[in-house]
């Protein structure tokens, strides 16, 4: 679920932060720049693991702030393909299920990766798995176990249709079509 990523970045420390100990100033700058942001192909940045090296401290002419080259490690949320995760069912529609991990919402389980045979109930707006003649409802807010099949990092669209869903920089596609997957209460 979480991985470490080693990064090197040139940070500009604003003069008002220079009264702080250097490491604290660097930490707060990294927090502003990276936390809760998706880095392409790297995942969602959660927090700072450690600062490994700090170099430089040059002040360029015409600029009142020092620049440090900092070598640090970030904790990224980047599930591997095939990883099993548990989240809450947030929304159902005809295209499938939407799962939330509280801190990450863009998880979709498409129709063709649900248990077979599953049908969408138009009245209840819920998916039902027909298991040996029993109707198993997938109720909202239930815990769902799913397997990660794909992690996508779409590029930012230049123009977006009015009705289009909000842009997500990182999208996970899940699969629940196997024994043990689906609602946790089923198994």
């Amino acid at each position: 679920m979480f991985v470490l990523t080693k990064v090197k970045h040139e940070l500009r420390i604003a003069p008002q932060k220079l009264s702080l100990p250097l490491l604290d100033a660097i930490t707060s700058e990294i927090q502003n720049l990276f936390f809760d942001k998706v880095l392409k192909d790297m995942g969602l940045c959660i927090t700072l693991y450690d600062v490994r090296a700090v170099e430089g401290g040059f002040v360029f002419p015409g600029d009142g702030a020092p620049r440090f080259t900092v070598d640090f490690q970030l904790v990224m949320f980047r599930p591997f393909i095939g990883e099993v995760l548990t989240g809450k069912l947030k929304k159902c529609d005809k295209t499938g299920l939407y799962i939330s991990l509280q801190f990450f919402e863009d998880i979709h389980i498409p129709e063709h990766l649900l248990q077979q045979p599953s049908v969408f109930d138009e009245e209840e707006k819920l998916w039902i798995w027909n298991f040996n003649g029993n109707d198993m409802f997938m109720d909202l807010d239930e815990e769902v176990r799913f397997r990660v099949v794909q992690v996508k990092y779409p590029t930012i669209p230049i123009e977006q249709d009015k009705g289009a869903k909000p842009f997500a920089p990182m999208e996970i596609t899940g699969d629940i079509n196997a024994d043990g997957l689906g609602l946790v209460s089923w198994w």
Binding site: V3, V7, H9, T47, V75, Q102, R147
Partner: protein, 148 residues
Amino acid sequence: MKVLESNAGLLSNLEVLELLQKRGAAKGPLGGSISPAEYKVYEFLVDTPAGTQTRAALEEFVKEVKVFKLTEAERLQSVNLRPATAVEVHLIVEDCDERLSGEQVDSLIETVDRVLPSPPEKPEAEEEEAKGEEDEELDEAEEGSGAA
């Protein structure tokens, strides 16, 4: 920004939880130096099996499951998900039928149950514990009035 190494190692849920605690997550999003996004991750993790785990239990577990010859990712998943049934073990371990016998699956479940602490039952119960003794008394008083 330059990425020196995109995968410098996997982290278990417990390690991330400990890291966030060190940054002051227990104080809440406004108390410590923690950002709201980090607090969300913290809230998610305390309700997972990682909420009750300790480093010692994890080390013990890694030692004990060596006999099953699991891959690193499979060990990580076992720790994060804490499988309690055979069907969960089959999900986590690839080609489980070929690699582990029925008895080995049972013994893996037994090891998980014995070495890893049981997961947090209810999120409400845990929050109350964290608040401390004074609040416990309050809760008891509330429970009493509720029963009456």
